[in-house]
Amino acid sequence: MSPTTPGTRPEGQHRDPLQMPENHLDMVVTPDSVDPSREASLRTRIIAIVSMPLFFLLAFTLCYVSATHAPVPHDMAVTIAGPAEVTSELTDGIADQAENAFAVTATTSADDARDSVLKRDAVGAVIIDGTNVTTIVASGGSAIAAPVVQQLGQRIATELGGTATVENVAPLPADDPSGTVLFYFLIVCTVGGFLSVTVISQAIPKIRARAMLATSVGAALIVPPLGFSMVSVWVDFEATFGSIAAVIGIGMIYTLTVGLIATLLTLALGQGAVLGEILILIALNFPSAGASVPESMLPPFWQVIHNGWLGSGAFESMRSIMYFDGNQSGHWLAQLLIWTAAAIVLIALVIIVQRRRGAAVHQNDGSIAPTGPERSAEAQAGAAEHALVGTAGIV
């Protein structure tokens, strides 16, 4: 045996510099995994110490602050019901005074206006009956958007010389007056989903894709019921068993999707998966969900993200079920399921590609080479802790 201290860099192996082979990031979470006799190279240390915190700072600050710092209505859908000549004049006036703030639909039917809010076609409605104005809001749709509609109704009433009364057709429960608890449930599902995949990929260095898929399924079955139970310690949603079960069901689909995406990223990116997870599942996902700030008050870029991302698909479908008798939940559930299906297809593609590549290497070298998925998973680098502590910053 050589009398020198064991080296930290495997000899004779050509490594991808991005894989940082000598660091300890791939074996921290699991017990007894740190070998204190090994230390990372200076380059690895600098890359890790600087890049990780910097990435989180950049991603969170840019995404969350840009989305939520000063919410104002952007094409907020509002229905105005009343005599055609009155609503026409009001619609023009609103368009002139608050350009692009509201997307007004006029109708002569008060019932249609109320239904448009209940069916989530509009954020709110203003019903005009002479000088009496009734403002229809839905705080379940957003506790921030409701006052905006209320102010609009008040201004219309003042203009008509009457008074405005407010009717909340989808109120929030007394235990959740700000309407944020469903969002916290979404956060629990997100972190529980991708963290489970991340830790299992660290605990089993040569983990196979099917083990990660099984973990995703397991997380989907366990995390939402457990998380909702914990939330229920504080909050009574005042909903039926069926509604609660449906919300947990949506949470299961969402958690599964998150787990699948984490699996896909782990297979495809290896050590870089944590950055991809933070970007896709947190930095872009949470601000666009429509929870901290409703879609109608997000900046246009974030409105586009909202209408295509998985988090908003889950959150809006939960919101529909919990507060709007399921109205429009199908649309949002479909948005979520597209992500689920896409993740499954992409995982299959990555596995096929990596197996073929592994087989090609095997033929060329005449030796047994690890297949792509296993090798990529092995390169997972302390992702669990980074992801968790990073996520904590945004909640």
Binding site: V29, S37, L57
Partner: protein
């Protein structure tokens, strides 16, 4: 600080059973799924006023009853005074969350001096809230509510509601004056809290990454990294957020003060992380999540104002380091620095305390480790079976009674024991120096 040379003892590489390893790994997501709802959601899901401090200003015979009525509830901690100037100054100086000024004029005193203890409306706008004159001799009340949206929009709304209720009881309406409005680019009042949370990540993530890439880093190295993070993180986070939020309309000095407080906070967070790591080792993530996130963020007063938190979290707010930082930031940006000293002191107490404990713990662990190593090497020097060759610088006396021992152990030969299932490979040379007593 006495960083001893890190001695490389022969460390066997231990591996847990796969099942235990996997089960232990899942503790991390399980911890989040349980702790986050219980702590974070429990604190802020339903902001309700608890002992919200409010000042009622006006003639004693009028406001004492009003204040007593408010103070008798769990929602408010009300005090009364007849010093009109306190109505504004107490809010601006952050002594109370809001104030309600009740001015009284008697109908027959119109045009004459107000009766003793009464007050004129504090500003012209307040005059519009004057109650309609009643019958001759009946008093006329004017109610002005002073709020500070920078204390939290929910707090301002609660104080406003109290003012409206009092005005209604007095047969008038209240006007509201916001003495510390939020910046136009911070209408929800959340951006300072974002700064706090994101820079926290910069503070403790450095510690965690350092723990992984340099598991044997000296204490000075760790504090050095935390210091760098404390300087860089506020600059990066504020610089990026200013793209959207701007500078709050504040002066250069104000922003520098803000950045200084954040830097102190990040350093404190990093120091807390280092201390937790010293105690918990690889399980430090759990401790950091608990002490820096789950206990710190809800109690800071950003996600929900302190006056609207449950009593336990209000207590945490009064003592915890995140609250010290956040309230100091709020004072600096929105209250001209009023009240900042008290909160900076709270933060500083943590900073010094944690650094001190870190040093003490590190020294204690170092001395203990050195004693253990010396004892092991002394045993080995008397004929331990594991090591084949060894030399001692001081082998003349009894090693146990030596004042100073320097030992170098050389791994010269290790037989091939691959057949031995209990064999634990010796991985490193060992050098150790220290005192025994």
């Amino acid at each position: 600080m006495t960083d001893s040379p890190s001695s490389q003892t022969a460390v066997p590489v231990r591996r847990s059973a796969p099942v235990v390893k996997i089960a232990a790994a899942f503790l991390l997501p399980l911890f989040f799924v349980i702790a986050f709802p219980l702590l974070f959601v429990g604190a802020i899901h339903k902001p309700t006023p608890h002992e919200l401090s409010i000042l009622v200003v006006g003639p004693d015979q009028v406001v004492s009853q009003i204040a007593a009525g408010l103070d008798g509830t769990d929602e408010y901690a009300a005090t009364a005074t007849d010093v009109v100037d306190d109505a504004k100054s107490s809010v601006e100086e952050r002594k109370v969350m809001g104030s309600i000024l009740v001015s009284v004029d008697t109908a027959d005193a119109a045009g004459n001096a107000a009766p003793a203890g009464s007050a004129a409306p504090a500003d012209p706008a307040a005059a519009t809230a004057t109650a309609s004159p009643g019958s001759a001799g009946a008093p006329t009340y004017t109610v002005t509510t002073y709020v500070a949206n920078a204390e939290g929009r929910a707090v301002a709304a609660t104080v406003t509601a109290a003012g409206e209720k009092i005005a209604e009881q007095l047969g008038t309406t209240a006007t509201v004056e916001d003495l510390a409005p939020l910046a136009a680019t911070d209408t929800l009042g959340v951006t300072l809290f974002y700064l706090l949370t994101y820079t926290s990540v910069g503070g403790y993530l450095v510690v965690i990454v350092l723990m992984q890439v340099m598991p044997k880093a000296r204490l000075s190295t760790r504090f050095g990294a935390v210091t760098v993070a404390a300087i860089a993180a506020p600059l990066v986070a504020f610089g990026l957020s200013s793209i959207f939020v701007g500078d709050y309309g504040a002066s250069f000095g104000t922003i520098m003060g803000l950045l200084g407080v954040i830097a102190l906070y990040v350093f404190t967070v990093g120091s807390v992380g280092i201390l937790i790591e010293q105690f918990l080792g690889k399980a430090a993530t759990f401790g950091i999540m608990l002490f820096v996130v789950f206990l710190n963020f809800p109690s800071a007063g950003g996600a929900a104002p302190a006056a609207m938190l449950p009593p336990f979290w209000q207590f945490m707010h009064e003592v915890y380091f995140g609250a010290g930082a956040y309230e100091a930031m709020r004072s600096i940006v929105y209250f001209g620095g009023n009240g900042a000293a008290r909160w900076i002191f709270q933060l500083l107490a943590w900073t010094f305390g944690i650094v001190l404990i870190n040093v003490v713990v590190y020294l204690a662990k170092t001395v203990r480790r050195q004693k253990r190593e010396i004892a092991e090497l002394s045993r080995a020097a008397t004929g331990g079976p594991e090591l084949q060759g060894q030399s001692e610088a001081d082998s003349t006396g009894d090693p146990a009674s030596a004042k100073h021992v320097k030992v170098e152990v050389y791994q010269l030969y290790e037989p091939d024991r691959t057949e031995d299932p209990h064999h634990e490979p010796v991985r490193a040379l060992t050098q150790s120096e220290g005192e025994t007593r």
